[in-house]
């Protein structure tokens, strides 16, 4: 009798009415949640933009482990990541076999480390490296990955653009491990500070890669990186030739300290290198200023730049779709207007 009374005590009832179950659940999740943030490096040099995976991991809550693999990374890229605040540890795999990021051996490497540590989330960038690698990892774990996310709503719910950014899809994953690539322009990279996170060894299954790396040909440039530049000037078919593209766009970019981008039409016509393509199938950019020169504004192009803060356009066709989204547009011959603009910018600099 006393027992029954006690169980109905006012205190107990009051406590029960608190939304504590929900609260406990989410804190329990946060405790169990552990994220692997995949970082990119080349020749020991950390790819700074891949630090956005740590930012995303912080949004999820829970513990964060950074992961980097390649030739001698322990004393180079891993040591640098270790300075980022808020990390549990950095797993570094020192092995030349992972230097080129070949997915045939890098995927089993990740899988072994994911299994050993029981990560609930794995986040990489939607870069050439991440896109190539993480779906393979997911398949090995029998998981449906989530590509190119732009926001995190909760530990299992993510937002991503589909149809070239013409629709925004919110998806909930039912997989025990979430394998995610993120859109770099949606998450700021974590700053490198003065923390001293422990750098530890991971498991190295030493799977022989099935593929041999032969060579590479990277465009060398002193310009800011297209994906992370504050200002981007982009040229389209209107530039007419590679010579004109270089003659008109280079000084304009110089006057703004901007990266140079291009539309698919310009790339296909050989005016600019493939790696400069902005759009659904090229790079996504979201600079403070995007200046579109001689670009009509096809949906595939808009997909890659419409999150820019300010969009300006110079085009001779007043009906070009680019003007529908440009914050400021100038109708005119680009061969006249761009040099004039360049001059004006230089004189004020």
């Amino acid at each position: 009798m006393t027992f029954a009374l006690a169980s109905k005590s006012i205190l107990r009832t009051a406590r029960r009415s608190l939304p504590r179950t929900q609260f406990q659940l989410s804190s329990a999740y946060a405790r169990l949640l552990s994220t692997l943030a995949l970082l990119e490096q080349r020749d020991g040099k950390l790819n700074g933009s891949s630090l956005s995976t740590i930012t995303a991991a912080q949004k999820l809550g829970g513990s964060i482990t950074a992961f980097v693999a390649g030739s001698g990374v322990k004393s180079t890229a891993a040591a640098e990541v270790a300075k980022v605040k808020g990390l549990d540890k950095v797993i570094a795999i020192d092995n030349d076999a992972y230097e080129k990021g070949l997915p045939e051996n890098f995927a089993p490497l990740l899988v072994e480390n994911i299994k050993k540590e029981g990560f609930t989330h794995v986040i990489g960038c939607h870069s050439a490296f991440g896109k190539n690698l993480l779906p393979r990892v997911a398949a090995l774990l029998d998981v449906q990955p989530i590509s190119d996310i732009t926001a995190i709503e909760s530990e299992d719910t993510f937002v991503r653009p589909i149809y070239a950014g013409n629709a925004i899809c919110t998806v909930q994953s039912t997989d025990p491990v979430k394998i995610i690539t993120l859109r770099g322009t949606s998450f700021q990279p974590s700053p490198i500070e003065d923390a001293s996170t422990p750098v530890v060894d991971g498991v190295d299954p030493k799977v022989e890669p099935l593929t041999q790396w032969v060579s590479e040909n990277l465009t060398k440039s002193d310009r800011p990186d297209l994906g992370s530049a504050k200002r981007v000037v982009s040229g389209g078919r209107g530039l007419k030739s590679k010579e004109e593209f270089d003659r008109v766009m280079t000084p304009l970019a110089d006057s703004l300290g901007a990266a140079i981008g291009a539309s698919r039409a310009a790339v296909d016509s050989g005016f600019a290198d493939n790696s400069l393509q902005v759009g659904q199938t090229g790079k996504n950019v979201a600079p403070d200023l995007y200046l579109a020169v001689g670009i009509s504004g096809a949906i595939q192009h808009l997909a890659g730049m419409k999150d820019s803060k300010v969009i300006a356009a110079i085009n001779k066709d007043p009906d070009a779709p680019i003007f529908h989204i440009a914050d400021v547009g100038l109708v005119g011959d680009l061969f006249e207007k761009v040099p004039e603009l360049t001059k004006e910018l230089e004189s004020k600099a």
Binding site: A167, T170, T211, N274, S275, T281, V328
Partner: protein
């Protein structure tokens, strides 16, 4: 490598690339009824590359080009197009519209089964479908098969008759070249080739080429959905800010907007 190249080319029927998709009223997806569909542009590149490998008469002869598509009945149109471009035969895996689209993992498992059944040694896929924009299927298939994978290919060269293949791929900042032995999975990037148009005689011929209907259950594949679409919405609309008349006004407007 005896028997030459037996190529599998998965193709997807998607809303035509030039159309702006509309979100449906219930915010569960994109309106597809009565909308023009075409072959996913990256898949056209895959078919074209397979046909060119045959035409190039390189060290390895192409003995078979099999196109496959999973989805509702209309996918057969897409497969006929692939055959009109030069594929030898096609499989249509019938997935009723009501079941929705297959997730890339399911597609990869389905393709894995077909690869085994058909003794395929080269799979050429598009790097991404322009509707879901996932860019996953090729890599997942390569993982399941434990085959070499080269994604975002801009050049494919069969080096010798042992099945050594050299592929140049587009990466951030440029290109890289890789070599691997068959069997392998390649995904195509835009610069790989320029797909041909199907000519009328070839369209007529394609009607006589074998198109076999299959079902997922026949292949032992379940249409599992691991992702739940909670909602599909319009992206935030961007309003044009109007036009200016000359360069000085352009500069002052940019300053006003804080961009300079």
């Amino acid at each position: 490598m005896s028997g030459g190249l037996r190529i599998l080319v998965p193709v997807k029927r998607v809303i035509d690339f030039a159309l702006k998709p509309r979100i449906n009223k219930t915010q569960t997806g994109v309106e597809t009824a009565g909308v023009k569909h075409s072959m996913n542009p990256f898949d056209e590149l895959s078919v074209e590359e397979a046909v060119r490998l045959r035409e190039r008469k390189g060290p390895l002869k192409v003995s078979d080009i099999l196109a496959i598509s999973a989805g509702p009945a209309k996918c057969t149109d897409t497969l006929r197009t692939a055959m009109a471009m030069g594929a030898d035969r096609a499989f249509h895996v019938d997935v009723p519209e009501s079941e929705g689209q297959l997730e890339p993992l399911t597609v990869a498992k389905m393709l894995q089964k077909i690869v085994k059944d058909e003794d395929t040694n080269l799979v050429i896929l598009g790097k991404q479908a322009i509707d879901g924009d996932d860019g996953q299927t090729g890599q997942m298939l390569a993982g399941l098969l434990n085959w070499s994978q080269v994604t975002q290919a801009s050049e494919v060269v069969i080096k010798d008759d042992s099945g050594l293949v050299e592929v140049t791929r587009e990466v951030d900042g440029g290109v890289e070249t890789l070599q691997a032995k068959l069997p392998m999975v390649i995904t195509t990037d835009l610069r790989l080739n320029e797909p041909r148009y199907a000519t009328l005689p070839n369209i007529v011929k394609a009607k006589k080429k074998p198109l076999v209907k299959k079902t997922l259950s026949e292949l032992g594949i379940e249409n599992n959905k691991k992702l739940k679409t909670l909602k599909v919405t319009e992206p935030p609309a961007r309003q044009g800010g109007g036009k200016v008349d000359d360069v000085p006004s352009l500069v002052s407007k940019l300053k006003e907007l804080g961009a300079l």
